[in-house]
């Protein structure tokens, strides 16, 4: 395909290249001869490893995206973002009950957020980052967990925050608190763990293990199949 596609002009770290239209930023870098070691992960928009910043020749406004998802456009100026560490609070989940004060205690700087909304504008997942920081300030852990659910933790929000906050780590803390404390544990899972420990299924599984292949096939083919559509969820 590459040979037939229209070529467009881009700039990588200031150098001029021509690449076929339709490539993503990541494949355009590779087409230009760059090999990714950092800045590449799942290549499918799930891991956040390829967060990238770019602007255009005649437009200095910075833009943000995932390099594996964003396709190149004429006159794009690409850079690789330098690595810098973000501060993550270290905690023992078992020792911090889920209330908002704990979030503030672990990330005291969140009170410095002045609502400039740069984080939201930066998010390649189009999440409402500033709003979950507001929720975190108010101590509404559930709201943070919900709004940040699709966060890939690419770190762009922290990279651009003028106050040096790390919204993606604040969100992770809240999601873990939500999963651990604010959502009831699944009683049927705990029940089944106990049943298995008591040996309830041992005989049945041993019987399957020792059954001949013929018998196993028969039982497999005759097993009843629960309807795929559950009735209860409305």
């Amino acid at each position: 395909m590459a040979e037939q596609a229209r070529l467009i002009d881009i700039y990588i770290m200031g150098k001029y290249y021509q690449v076929p239209e339709g490539l993503t930023i990541l494949t355009a870098l590779e087409y230009s001869g760059y090999r990714a070691i950092r800045g590449c992960g799942c290549r499918a928009g799930f891991c956040g490893a390829c967060a990238t910043i770019y602007n255009f020749r005649n437009d200095p406004q910075l833009r943000y995206d995932l390099a594996c998802q964003k396709t190149v456009e004429p006159d794009m100026c690409l850079v690789q973002i330098p690595y810098f560490p973000a501060v993550k609070a270290v905690y023992d989940l078992e020792k911090i009950p889920a209330d908002g004060d704990n979030v503030k205690a672990l990330y005291p700087d969140i009170v410095k957020c002045y609502g400039c909304n740069t984080c939201t504008k930066t998010c390649p997942q189009e999440l409402e980052v500033m709003w979950w920081m507001t929720d975190a300030l108010r101590g509404d852990i559930k709201a943070v967990a919900d709004k940040s659910f699709d966060c890939l933790m690419c770190g762009l929000c922290a990279a651009r925050c003028p106050q040096g906050l790390t919204p993606y780590y604040v969100a992770l803390l809240c999601r873990r608190l939500n999963g651990r404390y604010l959502t009831p544990p699944a009683a049927h899972v705990a029940g089944r763990v106990a049943e298995i420990a008591s040996g309830k299924y041992d005989a049945e599984i041993t019987a399957l293990k020792t059954a001949g292949e013929q018998e196993l096939r028969r039982r497999y083919n005759e097993r009843d199949i629960e309807p795929a559509l559950e009735q209860s969820r409305e």
């Binding site: 950092r38 992960g41 290549r43 989940l93 899972v189 763990v193 298995i196 293990k209």
Partner: protein, 543 residues
């Protein structure tokens, strides 16, 4: 946005929806399935396989791309390199940090071992994060570990190792509970009970999900926990050779700083390989859903150190990889789309297969529809595909279901102006999973003392075909087991002195088999997607 000729065909798909809504496609019977697999499944194409000439599995078949690497030359010259002065000295070295590596590291740490994790990319860059649909565990009253056992054996064509399957299904609910306690946000009803879905080849609704970011959610939590527990880790550092001692036991590994090409010696009493799969080898030129680093490194290292492999001729092709637009060629369209009710439809608007058959069966049916029957659509790029009728989900389950259950998919396609709530998705099978791998026992141990393996790089539990949601389950079940067992082993082992004698012998074997000059250096580490603009990148050691 689809080009006009594809839009036209979509009208045919739309016109047949009412008919398909009441249509009930029965599952294929055993003999039909067999015939379909024999004729169309990529694993059965003889010309793409080759028998191994050296090593423990000599005489076994493997895909040519994998066989080349398994028989590859070491990056280390054993005559020049001294493995006895270590940069790190630990009890347990974990190589790779996806779901299995992270679980292993956490459990080994909990058991009191000094742990070092090394990973080729970032911590958590692994196929795990791409796992969308869910994790299996039989914990509903209607379900049982025995039914899970039967489903898994049937899915694997009854070739799975029974002891491994038993452990998988019995540890499953506990693995789910472990993640729940670590703060994974499972999809739940208000009373806390799990919202569970069925998948291809499962006879019960058993998939635990976190919207369609299940693997990402699991990985985010495990990665965070590794940092909370202050477990030592190295990023962008690949393992290029294992070190044995003069007693034939594991003694550590040689690591490579990917950026500076500096070699690092990590001495360890036990090593856990958790390096994942091999999709980036692009077997038979298939596109792949796998992440950038999935190049079968663990298999290569283990094989060279004398560990046996199993089912390495068996790959899983996910039936529904995207074929349009080109930017996302090969990327996963999660099985959850079919689980929720989307049907597979050919260019005439006909459903040609029951959508929840096991993956290899659906894959073969799609290949037949495209290659033999020619009832497929061609993309502008010349690739073939059939329709996955996603809007059917909202028809069956009510408007808003797609947006609620598949936010990642909706976002992914919206980037390219395709609205999957209103338009179907064009799909073709994509290389997804390595069914086989390093042979392990129920503790994750290999036949090399002190060498453990877990996750996709290990083999046996899935037989020759893995069911949906059993892969992420395997990560936690066997990752945790391997972590514990390795920590226990490390406490007891009496160490010898480290050597690279096995590497010297390996190179000699290659020479004797007359293949030394024909084989590449391995492990491969990263796929080579860089367009050649000049010379060749240097390997650390060119044999």
């Amino acid at each position: 946005m689809y080009p006009a000729y594809l839009e036209e065909n979509i009208h045919i798909v739309e016109d047949t929806r009412v008919r398909r809504l009441i249509e009930n496609r029965p599952p294929l019977d055993e003999s039909d399935k067999k015939a379909l697999l024999r004729k169309y499944h990529p694993d059965n194409i003889k010309s793409s396989m080759r028998k191994l000439k050296v090593g423990v599995n000599q005489g076994d078949s493997a895909p040519v791309e994998l066989a080349d690497l398994l028989e590859g030359n070491s990056r280390i010259d054993p005559k020049k390199f001294d493995p006895s002065s270590p940069n790190y000295n630990v009890d347990v070295l974990v190589i790779g940090c996806g779901g299995a590596g992270a679980s292993a590291a956490l459990l080994a740490h909990e058991a009191g071992a000094r742990v070092l994790v090394t990973t080729k990319l970032r911590l958590g860059d692994a196929n795990t994060v791409g796992a969308q649909a869910g994790t299996q565990a039989a914990d509903r009253p209607e379900d049982s570990p025995a039914i899970h056992y039967l489903d898994t054996m049937g899915g694997g064509h009854f070739e799975n190792i029974p002891d491994l399957v038993e452990v998988l299904v019995k540890d499953a609910p506990d693995a789910i509970r472990w993640l729940e306690k670590l703060g994974v946000n499972w999809d739940k009803a208000p009373d806390g009970s799990m919202h569970e879905l069925s998948g291809g080849g499962t006879s019960r609704r058993r998939l635990h999900s976190a919207r369609d970011y299940t693997g990402l959610e699991e990985m985010r939590v495990l990665r965070d926990e590794i940092r909370n527990k202050k477990i030592n880790y190295l990023e962008y550092t690949a393992a290029v050779e294992l070190i044995l001692d003069d007693k034939g036991q594991i003694a550590g590994a040689i690591l490579l700083n990917m950026e500076t090409e500096e070699l690092i010696v990590a001495r360890a009493r036990a090593v856990i390989l958790a390096t994942g799969g091999s999709g980036r080898l692009h077997i038979q030129d298939f596109p792949t859903t796998n992440h950038y680093g999935a190049t079968a490194d663990g298999l290569v290292l283990a094989y060279r150190a004398g560990a046996g492999l199993i089912f390495i001729d068996s790959m899983q092709y996910h039936p529904t990889g995207a074929v349009y637009p080109l930017q996302i060629l090969g990327q996963l369209v999660t099985e959850k789309v079919r689980t929720l009710g989307a049907q597979l439809v050919n260019s005439r608007g006909e459903q040609f297969i029951m959508p929840l058959e096991p993956r290899d069966v659906v894959t073969s049916a799609i290949i037949r529809e495209c290659r033999e029957r020619q009832r497929c659509m061609k993309t502008p790029n010349g690739d073939s595909g059939v329709w996955l009728d996603s809007p059917m989900i909202d028809v069956i389950r009510g408007p808003g279901t797609i947006a609620r259950e598949l936010p990642a998919m909706v976002r992914q396609f919206r980037r390219f102006n395709i609205d999957i709530t209103r338009e179907p998705i064009l799909v073709y099978p994509t290389l997804h999973y390595q069914n086989g791998g390093i042979k392990i026992d129920t503790e994750g141990a290999t036949n090399v003392p002190g060498l453990f393996a877990a996750g996709e790089c290990s083999g046996g539990v899935h037989g020759r075909n893995r069911l949906i949601g059993n892969s992420t389950l395997e990560l936690f079940v066997f990752g945790r087991r391997a972590g514990l067992a390795a920590a226990r082993y490390a406490k007891e082992v009496k160490r010898g002195s480290p050597t690279l004698e096995h590497v010297r012998r390996w190179q000699e074997e290659l020479q004797q088999a007359g293949i030394r000059d024909q084989r590449p250096v391995s492990p491969r580490l990263l796929p080579d997607y860089t367009r050649r603009t000049g010379g060749y990148t240097s390997a650390v050691f060119q044999p």
